[in-house]
Point group: C2
Chain length 227, copies 2
Amino acid sequence: MYVTLFNEFAPATIVSVPSRQQNGAAGSPSRKSQGAGAHLFREGDAAASIYEIVSGVFRLTRVLGNGRRQVIAFGFPGDTIGFPKGACHHTDCEAITAAEVIVHRRNALDTVDGDHETHQRLLNAALREISAMQDHFMMLARKSAKEKMASFLVTLAERNGTPIGGYTSCSLPMSRADIADFLGLTVETVSRTLTRLRKENMIALENPQTVLIRDMRALISASQVSE
Amino acid sequence: MYVTLFNEFAPATIVSVPSRQQNGAAGSPSRKSQGAGAHLFREGDAAASIYEIVSGVFRLTRVLGNGRRQVIAFGFPGDTIGFPKGACHHTDCEAITAAEVIVHRRNALDTVDGDHETHQRLLNAALREISAMQDHFMMLARKSAKEKMASFLVTLAERNGTPIGGYTSCSLPMSRADIADFLGLTVETVSRTLTRLRKENMIALENPQTVLIRDMRALISASQVSE
DNA sequence: CGGGACTTTGACGGGTATCAATTAGAGTGG
DNA sequence: CCACTCTAATTGATACCCGTCAAAGTCCCG
């Protein structure tokens, strides 16, 4: 599964692969645990590994010269992260929550000498990621704040939500600033837009980190680009 | 070479590869010519091939339900286009000018049984594309109209420009609407911004399709996100 | 109880979309 | 060669969404 915004929009640099790991026989891939706030890798680091997320949530960011930040994607269990450009990582990757990943050698992409199936799986993840990023372009370029926020919540709910008496509860482990930098908005606009969706009875905020989706149909409708 | 916006921002779905084709001995790849306005492939088409652009300019687009369009990227000679997600293309690709491409079988990505070097080259193109698209995110999300337009012109000039007496002349084969949909702006804003850059003596418009860059330093400076 | 970070809310201004009209350019046929 | 037409590009007027600046509220943890 993957954070694809209702089959129409999706974040980037993270792609889910039909997770068929931990068969025990694989050989090289190892596991790694990660505390909240710890970096999995940083921009400029030698790209020695590619990671499949087992548990936890990650944030991939890229920094602009003047300090501005773009959140490229959030990574959830099942996603693959760490595709390199050449020898180095070109994003920062930080664990938002405690997390666990499967570590693949980076050259699983280079050679097929090793595990052919792993190679193919990672390659397909890369191709799917390209497609997902293309979707995300449209969100950044053409959606209003309300549409962006609704898209984001719908995606998170599909990905991460738990049913509660007909409604869907969904945790937002990332900060408002993270959401803003992901959607191309400001913190204030994110907060205001959440308030607006709340006043329109689409959602309720149990606390700042937990959203209850009260009207999924309306939220999906709000996520579409208006005529 | 690739339309990377001054090593900082770049369009997407198109990646340049060190073009070492046409050695004659390769075997499978064939060539194909393309008239202006003709589609190389459409969204939903079976993805049978991957293309390396030899000459001409292509436009990759994705369409939103209500008719809105996002230009994912422009493809110039040296770029590789047509990465599939699964079995189908997920973008439209149209030749803006008359063009010529090298056709690779799609499964050059799937198997290594064929040309191992081609496989590796296409794979690297895909990885570079991911990185380029991440750059483009920041442009769409965080740049003003003037910064976007300046970035676009700088990129095109580096990619496509011809020196003319100390200045750089650069053709814009695509329409204003294409530029607008690429930068996430409207046609009117694109036009107004060009006028503004002209009045600030950074550029001159010989005709709507030909830009003369009169002050490259100023243009580059204008392409950076302001503090 | 108090400090600090995060979130929310408010007031305001600016940048860009929108609506509308004019101008320029390309192609066509007389 | 010159009207005529159609599309693309430019320019103008206006509205509004969202960013910015500022302040208050909330939560967490010591």
